[in-house]
């Protein structure tokens, strides 16, 4: 007897492993986290206006809203950076929209101090590498006020920059703790 397509499909489904309730719960969680990431990216790109965020979040019940906000905040944290203050400003404005009671001024102040510190460290380390490079050039027979070594694209500087960023990451975690906790 020739089986129908539906019968074949049902046989295949019957052989598939059963998903337990925990897995179903986890899948749903991932789904709402993806929503949060999507909202964060839209807000950062400007394709979703901040004033429309609450309406978007209002589509979900309390538990799901927490998942969405949590992953939205995770994306915002990763967006905070030491080089572009305008992006950081946007992040704070979005946070203020999510949780108006957050002390944005305090976070901004702490972050500004940290960024100043980071920039100073970067300049010091860069100047040191330039000095070392000047010494190397002198040994090659090249010196004078007309030349400045360009260290920016060298591996040695990129590695150093990575080290500096890593060392400041720990201090940045303290600032993350000042973000709203959903």
């Amino acid at each position: 007897m020739v089986k129908s397509a539906i019968e074949l499909a049902m046989e295949k489904v019957a052989k598939m492993p059963k998903i337990d309730s925990q897995e179903i719960e986890e899948h749903k969680k991932q789904e709402f986290m993806a929503v949060g990431e999507g909202l964060a990216n839209q807000l950062l790109k400007g394709t979703l206006r901040r004033k429309n965020l609450q309406a978007e979040l209002g589509k979900y019940d309390e538990n799901k809203r927490k998942l969405v906000i949590n992953s939205l905040l995770q994306v915002l944290k990763k967006t905070v950076n030491f080089e572009d203050p305008s992006v950081n400003q946007l992040v704070f404005e979005i946070i203020a929209e999510i949780e108006p009671k957050t002390n944005i001024e305090k976070i901004n102040e702490e972050l500004s101090l940290l960024i100043d510190d980071y920039q100073q460290q970067k300049q010091l380390d860069y100047a040191l590498l330039v000095k070392e490079e000047r010494n190397r050039l002198k040994e090659m027979g090249i010196s004078g006020s007309a030349i400045t070594p360009n260290i920016h694209e060298t591996e040695i500087w990129k590695n150093k920059l990575g080290e500096i960023l890593s060392s400041y990451q720990e201090k940045l975690e303290v600032i993350y703790n000042m973000f709203p906790q959903s």
Binding site: M140, G141, I142, S143, G144, S145, A146, T148, P149, N150
Partner: protein
């Protein structure tokens, strides 16, 4: 071809456009050379093997082209700088240009090791070669010229040619800046004016009076 002492000039003689190149021999550690404006690799329209010709000419002068250790670029136009990156890759030569031209170099896939600005450049050790770099915008924002006071040589890039100047209508060019740059350089004591192109003349102008006359002519164009 040798000009004076350890300074060599390589006048472009092809059909297509390319620049003149200049070389100071044996000025760096281990006998390394300074090369100024190496030009195109191949010329854009006729595909003339410009770099190959230059390196062969250097070799014909009894110099080892693989010892080019430093390349100074007067500016970022490809007819002056295209070969620099190949030489950097193949020979490990350092490339130097004014910082304001470095972004354009990067957009062409090149790398810059040293930024130039107005000031002194010393090459070598006991018997050093002392050069003065002038920031001479007008043809391009970061155009530099190189003055060798020891022998009164001025390497002018595309600032001035024989009885003419470089263009000021290319991006970043400025007739006002060109005029100021020409005025500044016309005050230098120059016996050899080495131009970036052989337009109507090989581009090696000799003699103080001849050079003064040339500056007077080009200065009057503004």
């Amino acid at each position: 071809m040798k000009l004076i002492d350890n300074l060599y000039h390589y006048i472009w003689s092809g059909q297509d456009n390319n620049c003149n190149s200049y070389l100071f021999a044996n000025v760096l550690e281990n006998g390394g050379h300074l090369l100024i404006d190496p030009g195109h690799i191949k010329t854009p329209h006729r595909g003339e093997a410009a770099l190959e010709r230059l390196l062969r000419s250097i070799q014909d002068d009894g110099l080892d082209p693989t010892l080019i250790g430093l390349i100074l670029l007067t500016h970022c136009h490809p007819d002056h700088c295209e070969s620099a990156f190949a030489l950097r890759r193949e020979l490990g030569a350092l490339v130097a240009i004014h910082e304001s031209e470095a972004a354009y170099i990067k957009s062409m896939g090149g790398e810059v090791d040293l930024y130039l600005k107005e000031g002194d450049l010393r090459l070598g050790f006991e018997e050093s070669l002392d050069l003065r770099i002038f920031h001479s915008p007008g043809h391009s924002p970061g155009h530099v010229t190189i003055y060798y006071p020891g022998k009164k040589v001025l390497i002018a890039g595309d600032l001035v040619f024989y009885r003419s100047t470089g263009r000021t209508d290319l991006p970043g060019g400025s007739p006002e800046q060109m005029k100021e740059s020409i005025e500044q350089l016309s005050k230098l004591d120059v016996e050899y004016l080495l131009c970036g192109h052989p337009y109507g003349h090989p581009g090696v102008i000799k003699g103080k009076e001849e050079i003064k006359a040339n500056f007077a002519v080009v200065g009057s164009m503004f």
